[in-house]
Amino acid sequence: MKELICITCPRGCHLKVDDDLNVTGNFCPRGAMYAKAELTHPVRTLTSTVKINSKVADRLPVKSARPLPKELIFKAMEEINKVTMNAPISIGDVVIKNIFDTGIDIVATKDILK
């Protein structure tokens, strides 16, 4: 039996998972999904910034469009730190395509118009 705190939403449910990956303590189905994923292949959404050439901003906020495998987080940061974007940028613009062949893009999370 493992105990986990669900991080899917701010509610923070206290989950219990048995050896057969049966989950209890979850308020919603996402809690069960989280617990199973956390015990088999934990993932996290990565948020950071990249450099940008812009008249109004020094940094562009970005995120992984979907949660990345946890073990790739620091490696992804190394790639993110190398990127420089040019304004204008819109939310969702791809900053790094398919990072480490995960099928997940790093995307802009803010409109920077000039």
Partner: protein
């Protein structure tokens, strides 16, 4: 070769420089700090005492009373906030009433107008005082001043009139060459015919660079609370307890910016750089203050700080010359009431000692006024509108808590003692002085400093060398 070097750009050094700038002299001011008025002159009660308290006949008594009289005009010329709100020294116990009378007599001896008030009279003036109050001594001439701008504007006026100021110059030794001195700093060597030691807590150390001295200047720390301006008048006067051998005691006072100050403690420290605060001392300050003003809203505290009094072992200001050379002039051990006395100290030293060793010819074009500053928050709507129309940068507010405009900050950069650090901007404009303590405006002020001096944002300092704010850039190649 300079005519005069002043060591120390505190309130005494700055007012001396200003006074000397009214004569045809080549004057240089050196200070180890990155801004003027950065040690004792920055961290004190900001009170222009009336002079009721010093021992009659002492330099402190004479110069405090004289200084107090000079303040109204001085602050007009230098565009400094000053308000003669008067002080109340309160007796809380019956046995203190005779001491109050004794103090009233001492005041008269010092030439200070005072008035003894009954319990009813004092409570009418100050309803937030403890109902235990038994009586008080009112000194109407006591005032409050903005000590930060007093020093900055005095030095600015001095520089406008020809004085040279070098900051970040720590004096390490002085050589007496007979008819001139070599003043050696960590960076340079300067020469001057006359040296004035106005080095505050270090004044004994500077003096001892040219001869053996028989006194010391020990730092005596005072810790304070600062309360926000919270829309109510806690007290209308500066409230003192009866003085003791430890000094004037813990006061409660409004400041010129509408805040309230509570303190100072009084503790001897060995380290002349020790500006730390500690909990037991502050708890004691609180308790002492509450004896006079029970309902101080300590939840409105926005900052605690401490300052160092340069306390001389002689118990009086040390004003005069070195024994070995009368061209080495002393303004040493200027503790309280140093701020109140400072303009009189400058006059006293120039008239009695500088004039003896160097010829003083008045400068024809000396201008006692600083260039006018615009402060939108103190203007009427109409004036404010006209100002913003002519100078739009006064419309944009940078510091929300204190309503400081971009125009006010930019104006300081254009002056002759411009700010180089976050703290120097804060002292001049009050940006970052409010309840958020720069939480919102500090990055903006930092960017303004960086752009004005064309420096990297990561190199901007809070205050001293090494006091970086946000020293690293992200995403930089390793």
């Amino acid at each position: 070769m300079k005519d005069i070097i002043i060591i120390g750009a505190g309130v005494v050094g700055s007012l001396l420089a200003r006074k000397l700038s009214s004569y045809n002299l080549d004057v240089l001011v050196l200070d180890k700090e990155n801004d003027v008025g950065n040690v004792t002159s920055m961290a004190n009660s900001a009170i222009v005492h009336s002079g009721y308290d010093p021992i009659p006949g002492s330099l402190k008594a004479k110069l405090n009373v004289e200084g107090n009289r000079l303040f109204p005009n001085l602050c007009k010329e230098l565009d400094v906030s000053f308000s003669q709100i008067g002080s109340l020294t309160v007796a809380i116990f019956d046995e203190q009433l005779p001491m109050l009378e004794e103090l009233a007599n001492r005041s008269k001896e010092n030439g200070v107008e005072v008035k003894l008030l009954s319990k009813e009279e004092v409570l009418k003036m100050e309803p937030n005082l403890t109902s235990e109050v038994k009586g008080a001594l009112l000194a109407p001439s006591a005032g409050i001043v903005n000590p930060f701008t007093l020093v900055v504007h005095a030095m600015e006026n001095a520089v406008d009139n020809g004085v040279k100021l070098c900051l970040g110059e720590e004096v390490t030794s002085i050589k007496d060459n007979g008819d001139f001195f070599s003043v050696i700093t960590k960076k340079n060597t300067y020469e001057a015919k006359v040296v004035i030691d106005a080095a505050g807590v270090y004044s004994d150390k500077i003096h001892s660079m040219i001869e053996k001295i028989d006194y010391e200047v020990k730092p005596r720390k005072g810790e304070y609370y600062v309360l926000d301006h919270y829309g109510k008048m806690l007290v209308n006067h500066t409230i003192f307890p009866l003085p003791s051998e430890k000094g004037k005691g813990i006061l409660v006072s409004p400041t010129t910016s509408g805040n309230f100050i509570v303190g100072p403690s009084s503790e001897w420290v060995d380290d002349k750089e020790d500006l730390s605060t500690d909990k037991p001392t502050l708890v004691n300050v609180k308790a002492q203050a509450q004896m006079m003003v029970p309902n101080i809203p300590f939840n409105e505290v926005i900052r605690t700080f401490s300052g160092l009094r340069p306390t001389p072992s002689t118990h009086d200001f040390i004003l005069g010359t070195a024994k070995s050379n009368n061209r080495f002039i002393l303004a040493s051990g200027i503790e309280s009431p140093g701020l109140a006395s400072s303009p009189a100290i400058a006059n006293y030293l120039v008239d009695n000692f500088v004039s003896k060793v160097i010829k003083l010819t008045p400068k024809k074009d000396f201008n006692p006024y600083v260039r006018k500053r615009f402060v939108p928050s103190k203007m009427t709507s109409k004036e404010r509108n006209e100002l913003i129309k002519a100078h739009p940068e006064y419309g944009k507010i940078i510091c929300n808590c204190e309503k400081v405009s971009l125009g006010e900050i930019l104006d300081e950069f254009s002056r002759s003692v411009p700010p180089h650090t976050i703290k120097a901007v804060k002292k001049r404009t009050r940006a970052g002085f409010g309840k958020c303590q720069g939480g919102f405006c500090q990055p903006l002020v930092l960017a303004l400093i960086a752009s004005n001096y064309k420096m990297k944002k990561t190199d901007v300092l809070l205050d001293k060398d090494g006091s970086y704010i946000a020293h690293y850039l992200t995403k930089e190649a390793k």
